[in-house]
């Protein structure tokens, strides 16, 4: 039992570090990818290929003057970015990062906690993320911030519904709400994307909206709201808000991969592992690597979309959410149900 706790603590710390490092280099990747897509070079001065740029940005953020507006509610003003960051880091514990691992003569799952209602937990935690934005925007006592916060909360609430409905169809076809099991089920069979293509599309679009990323970056929208909810923020508080966004991106990529793309599984993995005679630990490491490859692809995808599409208008955003995605998601549930009934899986 002691080993169990030690392993979990190591895993939590590792997860924390990995999330931060991935988020750090996502900022770099974002700048580099946007530059490449616009026929520029991007940051290339700090270190080889500009690889130390995130560090330079971080130091710059810390060195900046910290301004708390006089008219703001100081407590809430400080709680806002903390909350955004905390909730961003909380969702990672549920994701199965790999298969089984053998340590000290015991077998562990490479997952911090496998709740049997994991999907619900993820939803709960990610929706808490909007509180950071709302509280920050409200406490700033600034019209732009308030507008950004209102937009963020309305957008989150609207898209949460479609996202939830898309997930219901997934839960119907997998029959479980535990992320560990969802990942394990895709071990030998096909990935869930094959059974739930429409659900995946809806989930992906909603993920963009939940992350407040372009084309749904209404809460920030530099050109209209001069930064939206973080207009009044400076120094590392601003840094935390921006950083939380990238951690959220990492986590939601991981969630998408787990839900729809087989998580740490890859095609013919059992055959490959047997043919190469890999031990459990190495096979798990391979699976984890594959999973990170998939996650990085989705992070790239988020950035790809951001630098391709312009921002939606707010009424277009609401129309898409309420009039297109929610009916589509309900239709998806219906289709899933009918197909399951025809296959005799409904009792």
């Amino acid at each position: 039992m002691e080993n169990y706790y030690i392993f979990k603590i190591i895993l939590v710390v590792a997860l924390f570090v990995v999330s931060l490092v991935v988020a750090m280099y996502s900022t770099f990747a974002e700048r580099k990818i946007s530059a490449l897509m616009q026929d520029r070079l991007g940051p290339n001065r700090a270190g080889p290929f500009g690889l130390l740029q995130p560090l330079a940005d971080g130091i710059k953020m810390f060195m900046k003057e910290e301004i708390i507006p006089n008219v703001s509610n100081k407590t809430l003003f400080i709680i806002g970015p903390c909350l955004a960051m905390t909730t961003a880091l909380m969702a990672g514990v549920l994701i199965p990062w790999g298969g089984k691992i053998e340590l000290w003569g015991e077998t562990f799952n490479l997952q911090v906690a496998d709740l049997n209602i994991g999907v619900l937990y993820i939803f709960g935690v990610t929706s808490l993320g909007v509180y950071g934005i709302m509280i920050g925007g409200w406490a700033s006592n600034n019209k732009y911030s308030l507008m950004g916060a209102i937009r963020a909360s309305a957008q989150m609430i609207s898209y949460e519904i479609a996202m939830g409905l898309a997930i219901i169809a997934l839960i119907m076809s997998t029959g479980t709400m535990s992320l560990g099991e969802i990942a394990a089920q895709q071990d030998a069979g096909l990935a869930n994307i094959v059974y739930q293509p429409l659900g995946f599309l809806i989930f992906l679009i909603c993920a963009f909206a939940e992350l407040n990323r372009a084309p749904f970056d209404m809460p920030e929208s530099e050109s209209e709201l001069i930064g939206g909810y973080h207009t009044e923020y400076s120094s590392m508080k601003l840094g935390l808000f921006l950083f939380a966004e990238y951690i959220n991106m990492f986590i939601s990529s991981a969630v998408i991969v787990t839900f729809y793309f087989g998580g740490y599984n890859f095609p013919f993995q059992n055959e490959i592992n047997e043919a190469l005679g890999l031990s459990t630990n190495i096979a798990t490491a391979l699976g984890t690597l594959v999973m990170f490859g998939k996650i990085f692809f989705f992070i790239f995808f988020f950035m790809w979309i951001r630098w391709t599409l312009p921002r939606f208008r707010y009424d277009q955003l609401m129309r898409l959410g309420w009039k297109s995605l929610i009916p589509l998601a309900i239709l998806n549930i219906l289709i899933t149900g009918v197909v399951m009934w025809m296959n005799g899986k409904l009792n």
Binding site: L36, M37, D39, R40, I305, W307, T308, L309
Partner: protein
Amino acid sequence: MQPLTNRSKAVLKKEMTFAEKLYLPAIINGMIITFKHMFKKAATIQYPEQKREFSPIYRGHHVLKRDDEGAERCTACGLCAVSCPAEAITMQAAERKEGEEKLYREEKYAANYEINMLRCIFCGLCEDACPKEAIFLTDRLVPTEFERNDFVFGKDKLVEKVDDRVDVTRRQTQNVIDFKQNKKYSHNK
């Protein structure tokens, strides 16, 4: 109303088809375009190490040339000042003294010669007007200053150094030399 050009188009406001309403094909097209751009050559010029090459007829910082013996060519005739549309050039003429033949090529020279770089529009008319091939615009950049008065460049900044000549051969194409020296033009008689 009579159209001004033949390029006007009638605006169509037709109903979108189902595929167009889905937006997804259009989004995928856009993504293909941005993806292709990732492999295109960047237009960046990495400034301090790399410099953009100037056009051969780039008109930058003026130079007052010396002749092969190192004597100033300018005779303070004032044609450049007259031709200058921005009235940026002023000068004061002086007579060459005994023993100054090495310094000034002809009997008259410019004691003061000033160009106000804030007025100058770098049109190059002074260069065209000069009958002595004394003033040229070069491919050097005008340095930045903090005070307005510092932009009035005197002879110290305009006349080329004897041991550090400014190359203007790129501006002296055959057309230019012909224009300056051919006696068939009235301005060269």
